[in-house]
């Protein structure tokens, strides 16, 4: 037992003993004892009353003197109070730090509960999205960010991020990402990407404009070179240089055409249209065209399905043509190129398998980049533009398709384009009803 308790009990015992002794001397010790106890109870009651006042805020120590049980109790209470005050201060400071630092972030952060209601957001959210800290807490976030793409994204974020027009700034764009955490809560991070979008657009416009502007002078040059190559009068020593110039001018034209096509594919945000395209027919045409070349590998075409695709005819043609042409270019005349079209559980598959030079595994992810060449010297000699596979990738994306590449160096490669079932049309069979474009040769181009 602690010191003050001991002295208090000792004092109480002394008090009662004194009263008992006086009672024995003066007579009626029971009355004396009862009186002393009553006085003790009254003293305790008074102190409890004072303690109550101390707890509710009145200054304590002076009322109780400096020594004994009660001042110790009051000191204890004060100590607890000071401790909790310190802790509160510390939390307060921490909270302020957190809210100041999140406030200093240039990205908006919004915390959502499972019902997509706003629990908290930082000051950047007010700036970027126009949220009102006084009123918008507890409301659903799509009440304020109402863009249909966002509403759809909110239903199914699936780890992606989306770009939406800014609700506050004209011509502004915001990148939104939802990150799940804790018990079904979500953190929405919103970043202003207006500047990036602008740069990207400027780049695209520049490439498109430059290609267009270069095309007309080039047409003139090719025209004259054509005429010169046909003419009889140039001296024999000029004949070969003129032919070479003509070849290079044609290649430049091809590169510009591909660049324009690629820029167009990149800038189209919507999906490709849904025209009926007879894949088998188109593939036969391409193979026939390539077979006409001298010095080519053996070409075989296998049509395993009569399914057709819904898409843009010209874009699908560039996909098929570029992939097959690519395979033919990188396969020696002794090798073979197998082209096939079929369907599997996941939709339509267009495959080109060659026995060409192959691609080193670590370079596979890069070969769809524009102007990327595995072997620069060789590719130029075979007359490619360096843009073919980039076009394939973008055109496929617009057709809800994906490209997979398998390759062994020195043994050959397999390029496969997968198309989703939404783009497939079966002729005959169960899904005939879904096929509502009856005339394959009425194509809008």
């Amino acid at each position: 037992m602690r010191n003050h308790w001991a002295s208090h009990l000792l004092a109480l015992a002394g008090w009662l003993l004194g009263a008992l002794l006086l009672g024995l001397i003066a007579g009626g010790p029971a009355w004396w004892l009862a009186g002393a106890l009553a006085a003790y109870v009254a003293y305790m009651l008074r102190n409890v009353y004072l303690l109550d006042r101390v707890i509710s805020g009145a200054p304590g120590l002076r009322t109780f003197g400096t020594r004994g049980l009660w001042p110790e109790l009051v000191a204890g209470i004060d100590k607890i109070r000071a401790k909790s005050r310190n802790r509160k201060l510390r939390y307060h400071r921490l909270l302020r730090e957190v809210s100041e630092s999140t406030g200093a972030l240039s990205d908006a952060g919004i915390i959502l509960n499972p019902e997509k209601e706003i629990l908290w957001f930082n000051t950047a959210a007010t700036r970027l999205l126009g949220l009102d800290p006084a009123r918008d807490i507890g409301n659903r976030i799509d009440n304020f960010i109402r863009h249909p793409d966002f509403v759809q994204y909110l239903e199914d974020p699936a780890g992606r991020s989306i770009t939406i027009p800014s609700p506050t700034a004209e011509l502004g764009f915001l990148l939104v990402q939802l990150i799940p955490y804790g018990r079904e809560h979500q953190l929405a991070i919103v970043r202003d990407v207006t500047h990036e979008r602008h740069l990207e657009r400027t780049r695209r416009d520049f490439v498109a404009n430059a290609s267009h502007e270069l095309r007309s002078p080039l047409t003139v040059i090719s025209g004259y070179l054509d005429a010169l190559a046909e003419a009889d009068d140039p001296p024999e020593s000029w004949r070969e240089p003129i032919r070479e110039m003509l070849r290079q001018a044609n290649r430049m034209t091809q590169i510009l055409r591909d660049l324009i096509e690629l820029t167009r594919l990149e800038s189209e945000t919507s999906k490709a249209k849904y025209d009926f395209v007879d894949v088998a027919d188109m593939l036969r045409g391409i193979v026939r065209e390539l077979e006409a070349r001298a010095e080519r590998p053996k070409l075989t075409l296998r049509i395993e399905s009569d399914a057709a695709l819904l898409g843009s005819e010209s874009e699908l043609h560039s996909i098929f043509y570029n992939v097959i042409h690519n395979a033919v270019r990188f396969t020696p005349p002794t090798g073979s190129v197998d082209v096939s079209w079929g369907t599997d559980d996941a939709g339509g598959v267009f495959t080109v398998r060659d026995t060409g030079i192959g691609i080193p595994a670590e370079l596979i992810p890069r070969i769809t980049e524009r102007f990327y060449r595995v072997d620069p010297g060789r590719s130029r000699a075979t007359g490619g533009t360096g843009l073919g596979l980039a076009i394939v990738k973008h055109a496929l994306q617009r057709h809800n398709g994906t490209l997979t590449i398998q390759s062994h160096e020195g043994q050959g490669s397999t390029f496969a384009c997968h198309f989703s079932p939404a783009r497939l049309v079966y002729r005959g069979g169960a899904s005939k009803a879904a096929y509502n474009r009856p005339a394959p040769n009425v194509k809008s181009g």
């Binding site: 009123r135 109402r146 249909p148 966002f150 919507s270």
Partner: protein
């Protein structure tokens, strides 16, 4: 009436129903806003494909109107809402009609933009119309915000802003007449531009209507066809009452 009051019914299903129908209206609003944006973009960029896409997508707006309408009827029939809830449902039924009309006007703008994409552009590149469009877009956006927050003061501001839109429409109209008199070859283009300005002005009116429904929903006062001054007085009174009650 506050946003939070929606959540005070004994039946949780009823709360959810009201909350859901309110969210649907705002989702429909978002769709209409996007339609409008795309229609104006079609004009700015001279993109006829985009303009026709707006026309194509108008069906989505119509479908949403029908489904919200049905949901409102169902709530009226099965829950028999009273007071604030009843006002909410009534305001929603009216709001979706105006939203659908905004969608129709956006469709009209899209079609006109597609047509104008094919003709020579004036030297100003339709600056006046684009200016008007910016104002109207801002009005529609603030209207839906006011609806989401049940904010009668913001709604009142939008009602006031409609005057500017009317003035701008008037000036485009007069300018058009001048152009047509100066050079009759521009008549068809100027007519299209004027129709577009007219559609924008109508969208402003629909936004204004929705704002009046918001004020009705919040304060329970029907303010249609009243002067701006008396509307303002009513809103101020209502806000004061609310603050006194809170």
């Amino acid at each position: 009436m506050e946003v939070g009051e929606l959540g005070q019914h004994i039946s949780r299903r009823f709360n959810e129903d009201l909350e859901h129908v309110r969210n649907s209206v705002l989702a429909m609003g978002g769709l209409v806003e996007e339609q409008f944006d795309r229609a104006v973009k079609a004009l700015t960029d001279g993109n006829s494909e985009l303009g026709l896409k707006v026309k194509e997508d108008d069906i989505k707006v119509n479908r949403m109107e029908v489904s919200i309408d049905e949901e409102c009827s169902r709530i009226l029939a099965t829950r028999a809402p009273t007071a604030g809830d009843l006002r909410l449902i009534i305001a929603i039924i009216k709001t979706i009609t105006d939203l659908e009309r905004i969608g129709d006007e956006a469709e009209k703008i899209g079609v006109l933009a597609a047509r104008l994409a094919g003709v020579e552009r004036p030297s100003t590149n339709y600056r006046e119309v684009r200016n008007l469009a910016r104002h109207v877009k801002n009005m529609v956006h603030r209207t839906l915000d006011a609806f989401a927050r049940l904010d009668s003061k913001a709604a009142l501001d939008v009602v006031k802003a409609d005057d500017t839109v009317d003035e701008e429409y008037e000036s485009i109209y007069r300018q058009g007449i001048t152009f047509m008199m100066e050079d009759p070859r521009t008549i068809s283009r100027v007519m299209d531009t004027t129709w577009m300005a007219r559609a924008l002005e109508r969208i402003g009116d629909h936004a204004k209507n929705i704002c009046e429904y918001v004020i009705f929903m919040v304060h329970g006062k029907d303010l249609r066809y009243m002067g701006l001054d008396s509307i303002e007085a009513e809103v101020r009174k209502g806000v004061q009452r609310e603050e006194a009650g809170a």
